[in-house]
């Protein structure tokens, strides 16, 4: 009886692996709607981000009409940072999430929290910003200095050049892992999820903010029109780079649906996997806990 049950579970796992592996292969060899080799994909994505880095934040504001700030606020409030946290923000080049995490920890309410908790010198807050693209990191470092409040010289903010699929951090070292608008650009999503699982401590949380799929009937058509007509035009006008923004819009459509991505996170052994749709699905925040 037990053997039959185990065999059934194994068959289920193999079948779901087969179904998802064909999808993952598609993702690894797709650059928007084009088909490319796996090795080529990361180079192409790298070129996109080197090109958009200087205007990245301005374009975000224009494309999302400033809403991306609210989405990132929501992500960080879901994360609920605490003093002494070790947090890793992957593909966080320009630092938006990292700044919000630090400001949340250093805010007045949090200082009250610190009074309540025992002072432990080992528990120093550290936020690591990891990005594969040096151009994005240097924009982030510049922002840190411009933002003031000591973020430029803060020891609690560490900029690391690295690959989401092969992180250089130790196992079980992070309390939180966030990836905002980055996982879509990773060649092998399952490797990034496995790495996230590896570096998180027990009880640590994985949070992903990503552009996702809209199913609401009329709104979907409006959103598609906006995405395919207006966004590449803004990209051409503001950043002089239509192709990068065409890639952006196409890669959103190729990315798995909310349910599929939640399944992938669960397959990476995360628990309490949930997702929250914002603006009817334009953006989704997926979360999971490592136990």
């Amino acid at each position: 009886m037990a053997i039959r049950t185990r065999a059934r579970i194994l068959t289920n796992r193999l079948q779901s692996m087969f179904l998802s592996s064909s999808f993952l292969h598609d993702h690894a060899t797709s650059f928007g709607y084009k088909e490319v080799g796996e090795e080529e994909k990361s180079k192409l994505v790298g070129n996109v981000f080197s090109s958009v880095a200087p205007n990245y934040d301005l374009m975000n504001d224009l494309m999302s009409v400033g809403l991306h700030r609210l989405w990132k606020d929501r992500l960080v409030s879901k994360l609920a940072p605490f003093p002494g946290m070790k947090h890793l923000d992957v593909a966080g080049g320009t630092g938006d999430i990292a700044f919000r995490v630090l400001e949340s920890i250093n805010g007045v309410k949090r200082r009250a929290l610190q009074d309540g908790l025992e002072d432990n010198s080992e528990d120093e807050t550290r936020v690591f910003v990891c990005d594969i693209n040096p151009a994005m990191l240097s924009v982030g470092k510049k922002h840190a200095i411009e933002r003031g409040g000591g973020l430029g010289e803060a020891q609690s903010l560490v900029w690391v050049e690295g690959d989401a699929e092969a992180l250089t951090f130790d196992d079980d070292s992070m309390d939180g892992y966030t990836i905002a608008f980055g996982i879509r650009n990773v060649t092998h999503i399952e490797r990034a999820l496995a790495e996230a699982y590896r570096v998180l401590k027990r009880g640590g949380r994985f949070l992903c903010l990503e552009l996702s799929h809209v199913e609401v009937p009329v709104f979907k058509q409006i959103y598609d029109l906006y995405s395919f007509s207006i966004i590449p035009a803004i990209g051409e006008f503001v950043a002089g780079d239509r192709d990068s923004y065409q890639y952006l819009v196409e890669s959103i459509r190729r990315f798995p649906s909310q349910e599929k991505f939640a399944q992938m996170i669960a397959d990476a052994r995360f628990q309490k996997v949930e997702y929250e749709n914002l603006i009817g699905g334009v953006v989704a925040i997926h979360s999971g806990v490592k136990l």
């Binding site: 289920n12 929290l113 309390d175 998180l200 401590k201 399944q263 309490k272 914002l278 806990v289 136990l291």
Partner: protein
């Protein structure tokens, strides 16, 4: 705040339309096992957090300390829905369980008349809150928040039902509702009275007027 809708893929409909029934059942079993593990860990954290409540209140700080005590990253506290309410509700469930255990192990109820039986059970239950009385007003205000009130009312309804059952209530008509509603009101009034009753031992004398 942008419009948002929260989904828990594994607690609602099955997540895929193409698997046959046997595979769906296997999936459901795995998901149930995973969910149970998360619930167990959450219960451990909340249990450990209760020992910090007197010092830190019904708050995130207490839960963070609880998580550290059981060896989990305090990040897990961020995943609890309605954080402080989770702690208060856990405590209420814990007290209900302890009350049921005490009733089962014998409170000498059959020797007493009805009002004395109820008085004894209510006293037993309220005594469990005495160690946290300095912070109980905070728990009451958390339970009264609109987002939490439906769960707290449900817990109190279960509690008064348990008390009446233990006191030997056999009614099957409108009295069933009347008795529970009245006891709910009396219980809450006594609970609030406890908050302002600072003299040691006086609560234990249980003002008989309450049950007149």
């Amino acid at each position: 705040m942008p419009l948002s809708t929260l989904y828990r893929p594994f607690s609602t409909k099955p997540h895929t339309n193409h698997k046959n029934q046997k595979e769906a059942e296997g999936d459901k079993r795995r998901q149930r096992d995973c969910r149970r593990e998360y619930r167990d860990e959450q219960a451990c954290v909340l249990d450990a957090a209760i020992s910090h409540v007197v010092r830190l209140g019904w708050s995130e700080e207490a839960m963070i300390c609880g998580a550290k005590d059981v060896g989990l990253s305090p990040s897990i506290v961020g995943s609890f829905a309605r954080k402080e309410a989770a702690l208060v509700e856990y405590f209420m469930d814990l007290c209900l369980q302890k009350l049921a255990d005490k009733i089962e192990s014998g409170l000498d109820l059959p020797d007493l008349i009805l009002s004395q039986r109820i008085s004894k059970i209510v006293r037993t239950r309220l005594e469990m809150q005495i160690p946290y009385i300095s912070k109980w007003h905070q728990a009451l205000s958390i339970q009264a928040q609109p987002v939490n009130i439906s769960t707290s009312l449900k817990q109190r309804a279960i509690l008064v039902d348990e008390i009446w059952d233990a006191a030997g209530d056999q009614s099957m008509d409108i009295n069933w509702y009347v008795k529970r509603t009245v006891l709910g009101g009396i219980y809450s009034a006594t609970e609030v009275y406890m908050l302002t009753d600072h003299s040691p031992g006086s609560f234990l004398s249980m003002n008989p007027l309450i049950f007149a």
